[in-house]
Amino acid sequence: MLEIRNLQAAVVEKPILQGIDLVVPDGEIHAIMGPNGSGKSTLAYVLSGRADFAVTGGSVTFDGADLLAMEPEQRAQAGLFLAFQAPVELPGVGNANFLRTALNAVRRARGDEELDAAAFLKLAKAAARSLHMPDDMLKRNVNVGFSGGEKKRNEVLQMAILRPKLAILDETDSGLDIDALRIVGEGVNALRSEKFSALVITHHQRLLDHIVPDRVHVLAHGRIIRSGGAELARELEAQGYAHVIAEAA
């Protein structure tokens, strides 16, 4: 369970998050929607521990542990996964090698046995197939020369292999065509269980047709100004953010 209390964060002394309160119970998928500059991505980065963002107040607990006190890799090892809005290229680093190193780091932290190359490859190929991705995606260098859509799908592949407890999807739908959108949705839905939760950050309602959220929150000016069920996303799509923001003000 993720519990965010009065979270405040700044970038270069400019306040971005101005008191976020949010609880994501296990098994639930919550969508965060909001206009550009509302602080959606900042929330994703603060939760995953990126150093450029300074937490200036509030607290976050993840399964009872103080998330903000943990290093980024400790958060990942605890089961937090961020699907990046702009996945990073790692020249010369094979995708399979990268993923196996990551998976084994996570498994080690959990006290599980590490997987050897053969066992990993079997698992990775199965995951790739379930996401309709060609095997050769595993052989290529991490995100190097990938199209925008391939990069996003590679994030979902990593998520499928690492099997996090909490996934944060930062605008994973941007730049995806309809088919890719459906595949991403399937990837997330396949992980759905009582032990899995997700924060789906998006501008648009269309991803939420594939990943039906339990709750939808509207973020504006660094605060959650409104929360509701899946129908809220459709309302936003129909009426626009300005309307909801004006109503909340």
Binding site: S48, G49, R50, A51, D52, E71, P72, E73, R75, A76, Q77, F81, L82, F84, P87, V88, E89, L90, P91, G92, V93, N97, F98, L99, T101, A102, L103, A105, V106, A109, N141, Q158, L162
Partner: protein, 489 residues
Amino acid sequence: MSAVAETLDTVRAVTDGGYKWGFVTDIEMDMAPKGLTDDTVRLISARKQEPEWLLDWRLRAFAAWQAMQEPHWAMLHYPPIDYQDAHYYAAPRTKDGPKSLDEVDPELLRTYEKLGIPLRERAFLAGVEQSNIAVDAVFDSVSVATTFRATLAKSGVIFCPISEAVREHPELVQKYMGSVVPPSDNFFAALNAAVFTDGSFVFIPKGVACPMELSTYFRINARNTGQFERTLIIAEDGASVSYLEGCTAPMRDENQLHAAVVELIAMDDARIKYSTVQNWYPGDAEGRGGIYNFVTKRGVCRGARSKISWTQVETGSAITWKYPSCVLQGDGSVGEFYSVAVTNNRQQADTGTKMIHIGRDTTSTIVSKGISAGRSNNTYRGLVRVLPKAAGARNHTQCDSLLIGDQCGAHTVPYIESRNATARVEHEATTSKIADDQLFYCRQRGLSEEDAVGLIVNGFCREVLKELPMEFAVEAQKLLAVSLEGSVG
């Protein structure tokens, strides 16, 4: 069993067994007095029971050296070296093995643990104190030669310490030694020729593909000594060999000089692959101590269609001055240089290659990956020279630099001289930094910062590492990660 595993086993056995193999160099258990004079040269030659011709050769080299100036054109800064303030001969003792592991600096122990070198060898590598000179730099090459002699002899391959080759195969040594790097070639080569103590000798006869990889593990151990080994590899027509060398040294506050010479000779259709993982002690974080590594390595592709390939992973030494080169004399001969040079803390490396195209249709490939961290400086210096008769010569050079942090330097100094209009010479260079977003991406997936740096650096070096024999590649990957520890954050 692989050569590397065998080397480790031999080391283990020797450490266990009170050096029962002894040292093939047949040297006394002593140290020459400090200083460098004609007498030092005579003493070394006498200790090694050398023939008169070799003593003369040494003395001529010494005379040449005395007339030469230490070169200072490299981008290296260090206090003047007092050549009189070192021992030029340090022979191992055969009793009193290494002291217990408890007395060895734990930092060093940890380092070797990370490298996956077994405990027994670690005891060997961690060395011993000053008064007990238990191991010699040539130690490993001697034991490997001993181990493989019978197997290799069946194919006619000679692999032995060069001091033994002087006695057993004087005609080969006289014919080839100094034929690629003459004693007067440069200041450090002249010094080496005067005082070299050991090294490896490899001879692959006509048409023979050496049945196993040959490996030498160099070790500087004694205090206040310099190390001057000399390696000579000859591949006759159609012969081929892959040779590996590794090097380590104990941590000491003073600087120690290492000035080696390596000569390779490839005849018609011969192939020599020479791989190095250089891990001399680099000095501490403040730049105290470490090896001064001034090495002359050169191969000549004497025969048509011959090929010499250098692969080096340079992580150690306080100072590295090293330009493994190929003289492409035979028509259609091929030279290759694949290099990874890592500098951290206060290390300085000025390294690269020379490709001298003499024959027609000669080709050379240079791939250099420089990684700078801490407050280090890393320079690629390379020469591609195409002589008038080298019609159709081709070279491709790629120099990539990776910076970690903002206090280090990366420099690329390519020299291109073409005197044949049909030659094609290409040079590409890039400089990049490990980006914060790359590190964060890896860490978000659960990797520690150090593992992330290791992964990114290994990715950066992949083109070079894939040229290494398998076991060395694994060792080199670990070494890269260890060398860069503490370089971020």
